[in-house]
């Protein structure tokens, strides 16, 4: 028990906690970019032409 308490105040553990907090603070800066067209617009284009998919994908056998 004393060993576990000692570990919490140990340098490595404190360093881990500090880095975890630092990573969390970086969340707001790490963001993916996307400027592409919406799926609504993509599907509207196909719907407007009356397109109905005849796409089929052969699954094959599982071994």
């Amino acid at each position: 028990m004393l060993q576990e308490i000692k570990e919490v105040f140990g340098k490595d553990y404190q360093e881990e906690v500090r880095f975890l907090e630092f990573k969390n603070s970086m969340r707001q800066y790490v963001k993916l970019k996307n400027e592409s067209e919406s799926i609504d617009d993509k599907m509207e284009r196909l719907r407007a032409t009356g397109y109905l998919s005849n796409c089929h994908i052969k699954v094959g056998d599982f071994e």
Binding site: K31, L32, I39, K42, Y51, L52, S53, H56, G60
Partner: protein, 207 residues
């Protein structure tokens, strides 16, 4: 997502994927394991709900949503979110008896994988039409499928490998990784674009 968009995706992606799964399992096997599609409309509604939850979460966490929240997620993430939603809902039902037929056990994982692929197909076709790439659009419609790369000797075929991966992650309760899955879908789409481009070039040479 607008209701019309989801209805269109259901009719042209999810329903196509359901047909593909049923086509791959002999009728006698379907009957033996009582493979059924009960309450499909309700399940489609649940898929949309699960999709929305997933989409909202990844949009808020991972994306720059713009000053007024106007920016969206890309279609690979959309397809990945749908794959995740279909996995959660378990569209196909069957008798869980032993010995189990693997194609039946994999049915929902296959459905999840193929739903994402069918969405990619529709988006690729729409993009060709938007960009005025009529020859490529016509070729894709004529092909009416998506292709997958050959795998190395001794490995599962690509599609089977992807389905097994989804199954393994589910069996071992590993969280679905939308970002990495979306990246895989990007490469599948690129592979198909490159193959179509080669077909078109070959077509031009022979004419």
């Amino acid at each position: 997502m607008k209701a019309e968009t989801y209805n269109y995706l259901c009719a042209n992606a999810l329903d196509r994927a359901i047909e593909d799964v049923l086509q791959s399992i002999p009728l006698s096997v379907q009957k033996h394991y009582n493979l059924t599609l009960n309450n499909l409309d309700k399940k489609k509604q649940r898929i949309l709900e699960e999709y929305d939850i997933q989409r909202q979460s990844i949009r808020e966490k991972f994306f720059d949503v713009g000053e007024n929240g106007e920016k969206l997620i890309d279609i690979h993430k959309v397809s990945a979110c749908f794959t995740s939603a279909v996995l959660k809902v378990r569209v196909f039902e069957y008798s869980e008896t032993e010995p189990m037929d693997l194609s039946v056990f994999y049915s929902n994982y296959t459905l999840a994988f193929l739903t994402g692929i069918h969405i990619l197909y529709l988006c690729m076709l729409s993009d060709y039409e938007r960009n005025g790439e009529d020859k490529l659009a016509a070729l894709l419609k004529k092909q009416a499928t998506f292709v997958f790369p050959k795998t190395n000797r001794g490995h599962d075929e690509y599609l089977q490998g992807r389905v097994k991966t989804l199954a393994l992650n589910d069996i071992y309760a590993i969280d679905f990784d939308v970002l990495t899955y979306a990246d895989m879908l990007y490469w599948i789409e690129k592979y198909n674009k490159d193959e179509l481009q080669k077909l078109m070039s070959a077509d031009s040479i022979t004419k």
